[in-house]
Every structure is written in structure tokens, then in C-alpha cells.
Amino acid sequence: MHYSFANRRRLFLFLMATPAVLYVAAVGLWPLAQGIGYSFYKYNLLRPARTQFVGLQNYIDIFSDATTRKAILNTFQFTFFSVGLQLVLGFALALLLWRDSRFNRAVLAFLLIPSTITPLVVGLIFKAMLGADYGIIGYFLSDAGIGPRSGLLTDAGTALWMLILIDCWEWTPLMTLILLAGLKSLPGDVLEAGQVDGATAWQRFRLLILPLMLPSVFLALTLRTMDAFRVFDSVFVTTGGGPDDATNTLMLLGVKEGLQFFNVGFASAVGNVTLLFIALIATMLLLVVRRADVRINGK
């Protein structure tokens, strides 16, 4: 049997792609499908005999239960404010570090240190510093009557904001790095033309830099939003979701249900809802950036 060159090429490419396809199917698609399947069951590994099909009940519970609703709201609040702040601070820092000098390179290297520390350790460090009884910051704040007496991480009004600040401390440098890479790749001639034409610094930023930076901003926002939405480690070690449910997040809830109570059905539903939210946010970001691109660049 004779195969044409095109067919042989197609077969060759198909065979080359097979390992990757199999890998994705085995570690990505199959578990995802399993997770979706489990989410329709009341299924607890500790009580397997009581497993029953409950349809969409787990999803209804997620949106009807006050604790879960609070976790969803907290996750959105955390993501919105921490990523928003990181974008503003990160952009400002990237602009400051734009000029290629030895000093700026050194500053950038030091600036990246927080992002190299694992979030769990960051959480523990801040918890130790903010504690009202022994913390190097918390002790003096509590003594001076600034903030809640029991410490900033233990009050329902301040705990989530502190977690947002901790996240900003850790991840703003990464945002800076991504945006700085974007700035460095901007076409120099366009910016020089703007300068020659007498545009002010603000005009150059608003009319030249910002439009050209949209792809980098999109990348930074998408990466950080996906990450912030899945926040777990730093919250787990600092507040454990408390006080009350003030800092409970979707991942915290999912991990607790899945790995502490082995409530596989409900935990899968929480995981799927988280995934769905992340996909929606990413799509929304894409649309917003594309629309801005069309508006500003006219394409």
C-alpha cells in the first residue's frame, strides 16, 4: 500500500504528538472528568456505604450555604484587591527600574527575594511578626492601642486586608518583573518620536506606553489572578480561615472538605466551581484587554 508524502507526514506528526496527547489526557482530562463525575455524588471516603447520586445538590449547597458564599466573596475580594494593588505598584516599580543601569539591576535582584520564598513560610513569618503577645510589630501595635487588641490577623475587620497586604508584599516583585520585560521590549523609535513631538511624560505613558504594554499587562494580570484565586498556603497558616469565616477562601474550603473530611463529592464540586470562576475571569480579562486594544490601537 502506498501512502502519499502528505499522508505519511500527517501520520508522523500524529505519532509525534501522541505522547503529549496521552499525557494531557491521563493527568489533565481524566482527573477533570472524574472530578466532574464525583461532584454529582454525596461521596465520603470515610463512609463509602452511604454514597448516593445527588445530581446538582452539591452545587446548590455551595451557593446556598452562608459559609461557602462567604468563602466565594472572600476569594473575589482577595483576588480583586491584591492583584489590583500589585498591578499599580508593580507598574510603578517597573517604570522606576526601566532604565538599564547597574543600580536598577541590583535593586531588581533584591526586589525579587520575597517572590522566591514559599508562601507558607511567608505566612508563618507574618503571623510571628503580627502576633499581639510576642510579634515584633503586633506587640507594639497592641500596646499602643493601634488596631485590634488581639492583633491584626485575629480581627474580622482587618484579617483579610492583612492577607491582601501579605500577598502584595510577596508577589508585587513578580508583577514588576513581567511588566519590566514588557517595557524593555517596547519599540524605542515610537517612544522617541513621542518625545520629539513634545508629548509630556503623562501623555507618553497614557498614549504610548500603556497601549503598547497591554499584552504584558494581560499576561501579568492573568497569571496573578489565577494564582491569587487559588490562594491557600498563606491563609492556612496565618488565620486558618478565621476569625469566624472572615478569611475563608474557596481553596481552603475545598482542601478541608477533601483532605480533612474526605468529602470527595462536595470537594470536587468546590474545585469545579473554582475552575469555572478562574476560566470566566481569564475570559473576561481577555475580552477587556482586547476591547481596550481595539479602542486605543484601533485594531
Binding site: 502576633g131 488581639s150 492583633g151 485575629t154 480581627d155 488565620t239 486558618g240 469566624d244 480533612q260 473530611f261
Partner: protein
């Protein structure tokens, strides 16, 4: 010469064979004499990171010398232990032969048949185990569920009251005889200006605050479940006791106590911040250790007081040793040998001399060596005499109930809700579990 030589050659094979046979026989006998019943067996224990875990590691060579079995102790924190062992049980992966079982896991172990039912073995070896020497409350709550042994007691703890002798003396007070006294004295001894507080307990959301409150709740007459095992989280007595707990936190605890777990609570007491603390007896020895304690010689240990008019009943907790039901019969037998060995009078004394802090035999309470090292043993003995191992319900639904209480009590301490609202909400959620 040649003759002599040839006669030697002629005699050699027989002599050599005889000698060789003798040597082989001798070696075989010696090796048989040296062989141990569990040679070549390795027992893996999943152990909670607690006072006893490193002691188990220290005892492993002695167990090997006696039985031939190697003992591999994997030490992990509470959450990891629960997750890893449950995954091992569910997946039938036989990763662990023995598991340290928290008293409150007994219901889940029994319902899911995670561990070998040891009832027949305990009955068969009752004399060897010297069961009469072990406190009944320990045997029941650290080993049994519904009359069957899902584990065998390893390290029992008594809930006791640790207090600052110097502060009480200075204020002209005696150790509190009732919970009402405790509350009153804690408030009296509270002096935030001097960073001296009246009381400290766990406030951190989750198991920490749930378990500590359940101790106080027990002594104030509350109960988490009804007599027939149904949830009663929002009973009148529980609501009242939670209000008392909140009052103690507001009026007598260090400001950061709301985020304390066991480690934070103990540290705060050892640093000298608090006058009273209820605690498991396992930590008591550390108050006299100048390396970690600022209050050496200033601490008294007493039975934890109950409410005025209540029949004394004191909290008992601790760990049992369970045999993984998935492992094969020979491993089960080897594991049972270890259980008998470690809980025997002689080894268990050694276990506690090495600092395990898990006293459970009556003979240990009067042992001169142990008494010389731990002068609070009579308090533990009295606690066990009137012990209650059920104040944290040992039912399969316990982990979820503990979580609900962990959130409810923490939210009350944080001022986010009232005791009644919080416990009503927890009760509604708890009912769905049954």
C-alpha cells in the same frame, strides 16, 4: 617421615569431615539459639508527633534486641497523620502496620473496620497484659468502641489545671476548688498593665479552640451529644458554658490568645504570662525545665475543677495503638507482640521515664522512680479514678462536629456572633451529618 605423612593424608578427610560437621552443627545450634521470633520483620508505625514519638524511636533497639523485629517510626503532625493513615486504610496500601490512634478517631475506626479487632487477643493475653493494672477509663476510651478493642492504650493523658503557685500565694488564694472559683480568681489575677493575665486557653479556629472549649464545657456541665449519641450542640448548658469561655477570654486572657493553638498556649504559660491553664498532663514536665520555662518551681498541678455541685469528672484523652486491618496475619501477630511489649509494666515505665508523658498503669502512679521525676502523678491518678473519655464524642462524625465547633467558638471569641447564634448554626449543620 613419608609414612607419617601418608598416614596423616589418609586420616585427614575423616578428621576434617568430622570437624566440619561438628562446627556446622555448633554454628547451627548457636545461630538457632541466637535467632529471634521476629527476625527479618519490619514494623512501620505512623506516629503522632507528641511526647511519646521520640521515645518510641529510642525504644526500637531494645525491641529489636528482644524480638528481632525492626521498628520504623514515622513521626508526623496531627493533620498529616490523619490524612496519610486514612489514605492508607482506604487505598488498602498497607503502608503502616501500626497507627497511633487519637481517642476521638475510635468511632471512625470501628465503623470502617480500619484496624484489627483486638478483643480476642486481649482476652487471650489478659494475664500477660496485666489489665487490672490499667485504669478502666483508659482501657475503655483509648482502646474500645462499642465494647470491642479497635486499638490498645499506648499513652493516656489527664486534663489537669496548671496554676502559678507564686501568684496565688501573693494574692492570698488557694487553688480553685470549683469552676466558679477559677473564673473569679482568673479575673482577680488579671493585670494587663503588667502583662500578667489570669488565664490562657486555645482560641485558634479549628480543632484547637474546639477541643479546649469542650474541656471547659465538660466541667461546666455541658455535653456535645445526647445520651443516645445525637448532636446537642446548642443545649442550654453548652450556651452557658460558651458564654463563660468568652468571658474568660475577654476579661482574663492575653490579647493574642484568640490565635493560640496548643503550642502558643503552652508557650504563653511557660513564659509566665498566665496564672491558670488547663492542659493535658503530657506537657506538665516541661514547666520545670529551665531550658524552655520561665516559671520553674512556680507551677502547681491540680485536678481540673468542675462546677459547684457537680459530681467530679475529669477529661481523659490520649493515644492508642491500632493494627492496620489490611496487613497480613504474620504482620498483625508481630504488631500485637509490639503492643504487648510496649504496654508491659517494665517497658511502659521506661517509656515514661524517657519522657513520653503517657501514664496509664496504676503501678506507675506509685512507682518511686517515676514519682521522683513527676511529682504530679497523684493528680493524674485522681483524674483517672473519676475520668471521662467521652466529653469529646468518639463517634464517626466527630471530625466534622469538631470543625463546626471550631468555627462557632472562634466566632464567639472574635465577637462576630453570640454563643446562642453560633451554637444554633452549628447544631443545624451537625444534624445534617447524622
Amino acid at each position: 617421615m613419608a609414612n607419617a605423612s601418608s598416614s596423616m593424608v589418609a586420616a585427614k578427610p575423616t578428621t576434617i569431615y568430622t570437624l566440619a560437621a561438628a562446627v556446622v552443627a555448633l554454628m547451627a545450634t548457636a545461630s538457632y539459639a541466637n535467632s529471634k521470633p521476629l527476625d527479618g520483620v519490619t514494623l512501620t508505625i505512623a506516629s503522632m508527633n507528641d511526647g511519646f514519638s521520640n521515645v518510641l524511636v529510642k525504644l526500637a533497639p531494645a525491641f529489636k534486641a528482644e524480638t528481632g523485629a525492626d521498628l520504623k517510626v514515622e513521626i508526623m503532625d496531627y493533620g498529616t497523620l490523619l490524612t496519610k493513615t486514612t489514605a492508607d486504610f482506604i487505598g488498602d496500601t498497607k503502608g503502616y502496620d501500626l497507627v497511633t490512634m487519637d481517642i476521638v478517631w475510635a468511632g471512625a475506626y470501628a465503623e470502617n473496620k480500619y484496624s484489627v479487632d483486638l478483643t480476642d487477643r486481649v482476652t487471650r493475653d489478659a494475664a500477660e497484659l496485666e489489665l487490672d493494672d490499667i485504669y478502666p477509663v483508659v482501657l475503655k476510651s483509648l482502646g474500645q468502641y462499642d465494647g470491642k478493642y479497635v486499638a490498645f492504650p499506648l499513652a493516656a493523658y489527664a486534663n489537669v489545671l496548671a496554676y502559678r503557685k507564686d501568684l496565688l500565694q501573693a494574692a492570698g488564694l488557694k487553688p480553685p476548688a470549683t469552676m466558679e472559683d477559677l473564673v473569679e480568681y482568673a479575673k482577680k489575677l488579671n493585670d494587663p498593665a503588667k502583662k500578667q493575665y489570669g488565664f490562657v486557653a486555645n482560641g485558634q479556629k479549628g480543632p484547637a479552640v474546639a477541643q479546649d472549649w469542650m474541656q471547659y464545657n465538660n466541667q461546666l456541665g455541658g455535653s456535645i451529644v445526647t445520651k443516645d449519641g445525637k448532636p446537642a450542640l446548642n443545649s442550654e448548658a453548652n450556651i452557658k458554658s460558651l458564654a463563660v469561655y468568652k468571658q474568660l477570654f475577654t476579661e482574663a486572657a492575653p490579647p493574642g490568645a484568640i490565635e493560640y493553638d496548643w503550642g502558643g498556649r503552652e508557650e504563653s504559660f511557660r513564659q509566665g504570662m498566665a496564672a491558670f491553664m488547663q492542659t493535658w498532663s503530657v506537657g506538665a514536665a516541661a514547666y520545670s525545665d529551665p531550658k524552655v520555662s520561665n516559671i520553674v518551681g512556680k507551677v502547681g498541678i491540680a485536678v481540673a475543677p468542675v462546677s459547684k455541685g457537680m459530681t467530679p469528672q475529669y477529661g481523659v484523652g490520649g493515644w492508642g495503638l491500632a493494627i492496620n486491618a489490611d496487613v497480613d496475619k504474620s504482620k498483625q501477630d508481630a504488631a500485637w507482640t509490639f503492643i504487648k511489649w510496649v504496654s508491659s509494666k517494665k517497658i511502659h515505665k521506661e517509656f515514661n521515664m524517657l519522657g513520653a508523658g503517657g501514664f496509664m498503669r496504676k503501678s506507675e502512679m506509685t512507682d518511686p522512680d517515676l514519682l521522683a521525676k513527676y511529682d504530679f502523678l497523684p493528680v493524674i491518678a485522681e483524674t483517672y479514678e473519676h475520668g471521662n473519655g467521652e466529653f469529646r464524642p468518639r463517634i464517626p462524625e466527630y471530625p466534622e462536629i469538631q470543625d463546626l465547633l471550631g468555627t462557632a467558638v472562634n466566632s464567639v471569641l472574635a465577637g462576630a456572633t453570640t454563643p446562642k447564634e453560633a451554637l444554633d448554626k452549628a447544631q443545624d449543620a451537625a444534624k445534617k451529618l447524622f
